[in-house]
């Protein structure tokens, strides 16, 4: 059945890619709904959640640190632990790390500059629900724009994540000093992914690249499956 699954796009004070994410998801067949951070529940029949890019709470304390205690985050936590697909983009990735839903932390870029350009990203795992439309080893061109995107985990944690196959995306070029060139990492169960590049800014070849649509369309697929499974229950 070809339904338009509901995808909740969270909005924190200072989010600024929420509308772009909602637009891109809508263009890819989702019913994207913006959800304010002070809400206590996700909309009915939400099939996936997106934490968009931006500068939530002005990046006070550490990027994403304040957003983790927003009231909507309890609902996101419950949704994630129930197996619901959750995607964090840029600031959303930072929030998920600070919330402990994803491993590691995003630090200031090694070269102290704000990086804003298209980067090549290698798909390390094509068997996740976020990369189901990609091929193993495929190179995607997706833009980044961040000052604090250098992912960090100590040697032990990095080794564990690498062995467990949780490193889903890597930069195919030097970008920001991330440990292991990590661009995107998922949780142990595989239904929460965070990445620094912005797939919502790469859904139309007219604007440089359509590669981001592969990731977002896969998320819409996963959301649709979840909604159909919910309504069949």
């Amino acid at each position: 059945m070809n339904i338009r699954p509901r995808v909740a796009v969270l909005v924190f004070p200072g989010s600024n890619d929420d509308r772009d994410a909602a637009w891109a998801l809508g263009a890819l067949g989702a019913d994207a709904q913006l959800v304010w951070h002070a809400e206590t529940e996700l909309p009915r029949e939400t099939g996936a959640v997106v934490l968009p890019g931006g500068f939530s709470y002005g990046d006070y304390l550490r990027c994403g640190a304040i957003a983790r205690s927003a009231t909507i985050m309890a609902a996101v936590r419950a949704f994630a632990s129930d197996g619901g697909p959750v995607l964090g983009i840029c600031n959303g990735f930072q929030i998920l790390c600070e919330a402990g839903l994803l491993p590691g932390v995003l630090r200031r870029n090694r070269d102290q500059e704000f990086v804003c350009r298209d980067v090549a990203i290698r798909v390390e795992r094509a068997d996740t629900l976020f990369t189901s439309r990609c091929e193993q080893g495929q190179t995607l061109t997706i833009p980044v724009k961040h000052g604090e995107g250098s992912w960090f985990a100590d040697e032990e944690l990095y080794g564990e994540l690498d062995a467990a196959g949780q490193i889903v995306l890597r930069y195919a070029e030097d970008c920001n000093g991330s440990v292991g060139d990590v661009a995107g990492v998922c949780d142990e169960a595989g239904n929460v992914l965070g990445l620094m590049p912005h797939p919502e800014h790469a859904v139309d070849p007219l604007l440089g690249s359509g590669d981001g649509a592969l990731l977002l369309a896969a998320l819409v697929d996963a959301a649709r499956e979840r909604v159909l499974a919910m309504t069949a229950r």
């Binding site: 630090r107 090694r110 102290q112």
Partner: protein
């Protein structure tokens, strides 16, 4: 009770902000060997004694004020012998 928390980048972890400050100080002509930039948080804590205040602030540090992966913290309680 007045409590001050010092949050620092962990030893051995690259601190780009500190590097930038170091470079800037040097270009101003100062002889500086190193710079690390951390954060200071002044708190007014409701607690009966210093032990209780410390326990509370330690939890605050672990849950929010510091990220243990990359930062260390130090707690100073006003009036408590160092």
């Amino acid at each position: 009770m007045k409590v001050t928390v010092f949050v620092r980048p962990k030893a051995g972890i690259l601190d780009p902000q500190g590097e930038a400050v170091l470079g800037s100080l040097r270009s101003l002509g100062f002889a500086v060997g190193g710079a690390r930039v951390g954060r200071l948080v002044d708190l007014e804590v409701d607690a009966d004694d210093a032990t209780e205040a410390r326990a509370q602030v330690e939890r605050m540090c672990q849950e929010l004020l510091a990220n243990p992966l990359i930062e260390s913290f130090e707690i100073e309680i006003e009036g408590e012998a160092a």
